[in-house]
Chain length 244, copies 4
């Protein structure tokens, strides 16, 4: 079996701003850290693409060669070209997996795929986040314990304005008193979608082995697999029926 | 309790074309038949709006005064102004009910709310359609038997490219050999959405009392009701917690 | 419209034990407090039934006259007669609503209806519990804010071993670091089921107006309503089809 | 990776009755045909067990060595020992996959796992059954077309009294006018459950390559896989929190 080909998409704006804390945490960008960690996993080959590359690094060829995309964006959602968004969404429907990380809840492709406002509560206050497993048999939870923690994360709180997840894998407890559906799965036509809450740009979240284990599990779960044929449009009665 | 205020939206193009069969079945438009039938139901007051009116008949005031909208469109989905679509979608998120009828599966607001391609198989062949109740306890099925029928309907067949319904109320059997999830419910934030398959423009579907009973039930089920408050954005810890 | 007839079922053992704290909090039993509060709500008439009455107070007549049952049990789940359990379960399938409170997660009728082990984590440590609304449009959340609190509750933590809820209305944050799906809905045939976590026997939970508001909302949501007819067994082709 | 170990459980009563048509279709029992076909698939090793063996062939050792069980029963559901049923159900919760075939909808372990009545409509009339794929991306639909057919099957019709499936993979169209949710998935704790409608004892259904392809896919989908740890019961606050 050949490797799962991942394209790690990063907005890569905060990290280039030397006045921003994230430039110290992720001097080469979050995407490079995520990609490096994924490349260390067996069966996964990751490359990167960023907003300021031509076509945001998502040419037709890159899209065609991508099995799973991860998406992180925050300050520049509006700079993403709608035509690229439509191409990404179409690829998801056709079977490409996609993993939305943290503030990508407000990214164009996530909102487009959800059909909801995707809003939530938030607070930057260096709070402990504890993620509890609520579907222990889900492949994305493979190898985890009851829960896992980050010492500091941005708080995201309910209500999270999304369609009911097809599977709810994690719920996060935040030190300051909130909860959040932090690991959510959806199927849209042939494509699988995972939203995963951790990853504020000023914390070293993507250096954390458990966080990366979850993302690796999610890459495997969202990766395309053999499907049934789908045919749409004008459809004549099947012969067996016609003959009757 | 005051009446549920319904706006019956109709594309109203086929019916104005005297060469089209639907001009004989619905000489004043499908929307007038639907609205008349709804107005005969206790607790419901219906008005109409159509594509070729200014702002498609969906001014801010009309939208503000609408509890539930029904939507039928077919040949002119592309003529619906995107700004109106966004207003309709926003109203749904805020709690306005919406019922998509038949070929509205390809309408802009339905596709926008679903986040999927919404495609399906179809065939115009005067086929019997039998709708089976698969969630007998659902309010939209109230008062029905095991199933109900239309002597002739356009066939719509699976795969129907939608998000998994939050409730699947009806599955239709078509004479020519296909099946279709013909009565589907979704909740999106505070709004309730129902898709109902029957209603090809050349058949007298909306004169059928059982079809209208279902639509009436759906008006009642999708109507806005008291909700919890929702707050989004930057959120400070609640005082009780702060004090600790 | 006539009142919703509620039977508040209570195990009523802890409260009769004068050495037990709950005998001070609920000297006449939790069930009497719940019933009194429900009786103060318009459109609801509540009576009580307890374990140590003949047939646990759930005679065929009582069951036939019950629209919605609430169930609280803890130390004596095993003393509930399996024949009564089967009668209760059958009534739920036929349309009787049922609300399981707190430790009723391990009651016989809940386990029977869920088909799972229904286990969870727990801790008695006087911890604050904050219940967040995650489906603000659900009728059980009507009139609530973003969240509501109890100053002290028993901690119940994930993983909660239940089938995926048809609707997840509340998630609770516990002071000690856990989360719990504390308001869960299921539909089983014509019957509606709600599980609600608060209600440890040593805390005055059922005197709390918001808790009772939720239970009142749940009574209204689980109450029987008109359904479609359901027919099972050997089934001949419908005449319309036969004739072809 | 070692083979998935399947135990094909068959009631094996009809087939031993020489006056019954199934004794001609399946002279050595349905279970032997299913097991033989599964053994021809790469990565699967199947054995059989039947009702009239000691402990129905399901000793503790057999259960411990079973990754996935398939279950067919019909006339003798009541002869299955409740203690064996409980052991099977417990194994499912722990992660053993289980596939219920045809009339096993009324088997003890299926009813126990569902918590519903599991009733349906039926008719033996040599009718064509056409199974449509409604979740084309589901692994159980891998490699199929839009639909597949059986020339003759027993009709099973809605309403099928089950909990809403976590995934609905197939809906069957029956020649005589009915529809049926014929391929349904549920997750219960760590275990995966699939119900598949085809397989009346007087038709050669389990010789059909497409039917067996679906069952093979279902074996792979229900097979146990790495999970998160689950801990239940009295739970002390995690140290990290305690220290605060």
């Amino acid at each position: 079996m050949s490797d799962i080909r991942v394209t790690v998409w990063g907005e890569f704006r905060h990290e280039k701003d030397s006045s921003h804390e994230s430039s110290r945490v992720y001097p080469d960008g979050m995407h490079t850290v995520i990609a490096k960690n994924l490349n260390a996993m067996p069966g996964i080959t990751a490359r990167t693409a960023t907003l300021d590359e031509p076509e945001h690094g998502l040419t037709d060829q890159v899209l065609a060669e991508t099995d799973v995309m991860t998406w992180w964006g925050h300050m520049a959602h509006g700079d993403v070209d709608d035509r690229i968004v439509e191409k990404v969404v179409k690829r998801v429907w056709e079977g490409m997996g996609i993993i939305f990380l943290h503030s990508a809840h407000f990214s164009k492709p996530f909102k487009r795929l959800m059909g909801t406002g995707c809003d939530l509560k938030w607070r930057e206050a260096d709070e402990k986040a504890r993620m509890w497993v609520v579907e222990p048999g889900h492949p994305i939870a493979a190898g985890l314990g009851n829960c896992f923690e980050l010492d500091k994360e941005e708080m995201y709180g309910e209500h999270f304005d999304i369609p009911k997840p097809d599977a709810l894998v994690f719920i996060t407890w935040f030190e300051g008193g909130e909860v959040f559906r932090s690991g959510c799965c959806w199927v849209r036509q042939k494509g699988r979608i995972f939203y995963f809450q951790p990853g504020h740009e000023t914390y070293p979240t993507y250096y954390d082995p458990t966080i990366m284990k979850v993302i690796g599990n999610a890459v495997r779960w969202t990766a395309p697999r053999p499907c049934a044929d789908v045919q749409y449009g004008n459809f004549q009665p099947l012969e067996e029926i016609k003959k009757k």
